[in-house]
Amino acid sequence: MLELKDLRARLSLEGAPDRDILNGVTLTVPAGEVHAIMGPNGSGKSTLSYLLAGRPGYEATSGSAHFLGEDLLALEPEARAAKGVFLSFQYPVEIPGVPVMTFVRAAMNAQRTSRGEAEISAPDFLKKSRAIAERLRMDPDMLKRPLNVGFSGGEKKRLEIYQMLMLEPRLMILDETDSGLDIDALRIVSEGVNALRSPDRAMLVITHYQRLLDHIRPDRVHVLSAGRIIASGGPELALRLESEGYDALIAGAG
């Protein structure tokens, strides 16, 4: 479903010299599977997720990324979203003055329109929103507040998952969705995520901790270090990392 081949990326930001962040990432996520990506701070995990979502400034210098056979890198971010790419941000952005519901409804309808589907009616939207908020144990008043503004770290993460459940994407990239969540929230959010697991969806879960993977069982685990995947394996790889740390692995790969 998602196919990355020798993906290399350079970061070009105004006022800073260009930097190579990804040094050839090759990765295939078949439909229906969940892959975890782990790796030390600064190894390029978020960069990979931004690259796949099309954040301006993050450009692939070579290699390719295909989603359902289509060249992802050639598309505008909103076109990727309409194809079903959803990124749960490591640091969700605050948007003052725009209530959550207004935002999500505008996004949902924009996606539907670009797929040639009819817009969702207001009552249907409300019904769906209410059901999902309930499932995530969210205070419905939260959805009337401006997007992410003044939300706690955990609330923001929960709101990302709310949006994911509302938009029902096909490729879900969760960038450290577990950070900031308390123990109960972690379980609730994971249940929400698991509910979306299906044979026609795929998922990339970026995390530092095994405890998330206890809830969202990955099919494969990859270790990213210095912009390269240095190890891949089954769920047991994550357990090994938890007890041994990255150093041994990196030394072995070096």
């Binding site: 979502a53 954040r55 003055g97 924009a110 996606q111 670009s114």
Partner: protein, 505 residues
């Protein structure tokens, strides 16, 4: 030669329309026979206008005095605006559809004019209003729930129709064109005219005092809550003409009125001058809410044509516990020079100013407010949101002044500017003068651009770039939009979107 029919240079209009047509949908011209004052401005022009309006002698005197003073005044140059010198002799100071003053009922109003207002979304037939703009499809029950709005429609220099006059009269509310009021309620007009904006207040107000054409007069009697929204739609149609309307609203003790002003003009490749004066008087315990959606033709993207909007608007909270609030959405005009103000004379009176000013293309806006605290425990609040795109310049200019008698005065000011693209300018020029130790004044201002992170976040969720910008801008101006009457909030939001089209990417 008063009844010259102006020929419209179809070619030019078409060319301009081609450039901007999708952006400015109000830019069409109504083809109707015009009556114009001869080009130029002399005592004779003033007499001509006064005669056309069949005014009493005192009104003519008032105009002539103003004209005399105006000739000695100099055009102000302190605003952050630049435009070529205006030739005040090169315009018509009066333009009216032929026989306009004779319209006795709505049925006499020519179809072209009714169509013009219908096209602008402003129904002038009361039954249409009752049924909603969409027409008879809606049920009568639903129609009763839609808020009704009484309209005074000013077409160039004359008021062509005023709706719901009778129903309002039953509540004791006087709502009519200014010209009619001069004839029918001369005592009220004389008592209040020029008491908030004196005839010699400033260059443009004085010009208006000499040549004002038409506008709206409103009087709300003691204790009356005006049963519906009142509004005036100004339409500049004639070529080479200016519009100089005069509005006077008096809210007597304990009364309430909400008033909306809308303006549009055709696309012309020349600059049209608009110099209006609005005076509000709120007596003890009265409240006036004045909202403006200003969408005069801004000129094309190269800065050709567009309305020069030099407006003096001032409210006088004359009585204790009175309240005046100005809400404005300014998206049009090539040049905007406008400072709706409040004189907080009565103790415990409240003044508010909520503003959204959008400039794009080569537009220039210098706008803000003055809050003059004279009475005790007077309070004021200023929220200004400026958005600059294209190669435009947008300035907030404001004054908060607390006089020695104004014990316990309070002001809060928030000015935010948003820059879209790197060729525009955003400026903030507040003046704060405090002469009371127990007054408390707070002023905050920020200037930022649309954040790349926010844009990307919205696009990641599937919104197109323009839509994402519109959404973010709507968030930016939300505090102010919420102050508009419901039915205009939607219109204002659409207008913002249209004004900012093509500002990114």
């Amino acid at each position: 030669m008063p009844d010259v029919k102006e020929n419209i240079e179809a070619g030019t209009i078409e060319a301009v329309r081609g450039l901007e047509a999708d952006r400015y949908s109000e830019g069409f011209v109504t083809d109707i026979e015009q009556e114009l004052a001869p080009r130029g401005l002399t005592q004779e022009t003033v007499r001509f206008i006064s005669a056309k309006k069949e005014e009493p002698e005192w009104m003519l005197r008032w105009r002539l005095d103003a004209f005399e003073r105006w000739q000695e005044m100099e055009e102000p140059d302190w605003a952050l605006l630049s435009y070529p010198p205006i030739d005040y002799q090169d315009a018509h100071y009066y333009a009216a559809p032929k026989n306009a003053s004779k319209y006795k009922s709505i049925d006499d109003v020519p179809k072209e004019i009714l169509d013009t207002y219908a096209k602008l979304g402003i129904p002038l037939r009361e039954q249409e209003v009752l049924l909603g703009v969409e027409g008879a499809k809606e049920t009568a029950a639903a129609a009763r729930e839609t808020p009704r709005v009484a309209v005074d429609a000013v077409f160039d220099s004359v008021s062509v129709a005023t709706t719901f006059k009778e129903e309002l009269a039953r509540a004791g509310v006087i709502f009519m064109s200014f010209s009619e009021a001069v004839r029918e309620h001369p005592d009220l007009v004389r008592r209040y005219l020029g008491t908030v904006v004196p005839p010699t207040d400033n260059f443009f107000a004085t010009l208006n005092s000499a040549v004002f054409s038409d506008g709206t007069f409103v009087y709300i009697p003691k204790g009356v809550r005006c049963p519906m929204e009142l509004s005036t739609y100004f339409r500049m149609n004639a070529r080479g003409s200016g519009q100089f309307e005069r509005t006077l609203i008096i809210a007597d003790e304990g009364s309430y009125v909400s008033y909306l002003e809308g303006c549009t003009a055709p696309m012309r490749d020349e600059n049209q001058l608009h110099a209006a004066v609005v005076e509000l008087v709120a007596l003890e315990g009265a409240e006036i809410r004045y909202s403006t959606v200003q969408n005069w033709w801004p000129g094309d993207s190269e800065g050709k044509g567009g309305v020069y909007n030099f407006v003096t608007k001032r409210g006088d909270c004359r009585g204790a516990r009175s309240r005046i609030s100005w809400t404005q959405v300014e998206t049009g005009s090539a040049i905007t020079w406008k400072y709706p103000s409040c004189i907080l004379r009565g103790d415990d009176s409240v003044g508010e100013f909520y503003s959204i000013a959008v400039t794009n293309g080569r537009q220039q806006a210098d706008t803000g407010t003055k809050m003059i605290h004279l009475g005790r425990n007077t309070r004021s609040r200023i929220i200004s949101k400026g958005i600059s795109a294209g190669r435009s310049n947008n300035t907030y200019r404001g004054l908060v002044s607390v006089h020695p008698r104004a014990s316990g005065a309070r002001n809060f000011t928030q000015c935010d500017s948003l820059l879209i693209g790197s060729s525009s300018g955003a400026h903030t020029v507040p003046y704060i003068e405090n002469r009371r130790a127990d007054a408390q004044l707070e002023h905050e201002a920020t200037t930022t651009r649309l954040s790349e992170d926010q844009l990307f976040y919205a696009r990641q969720r599937g919104l197109g770039e323009e839509q994402a910008v519109a959404l973010l801008v709507n968030g930016f101006v939300r505090d102010v939009i919420q102050k508009l009457p419901m039915e205009f909030a939607v219109e204002a939001q659409k207008l913002l979107e249209v004004s900012l089209e093509g500002s990114v990417g």
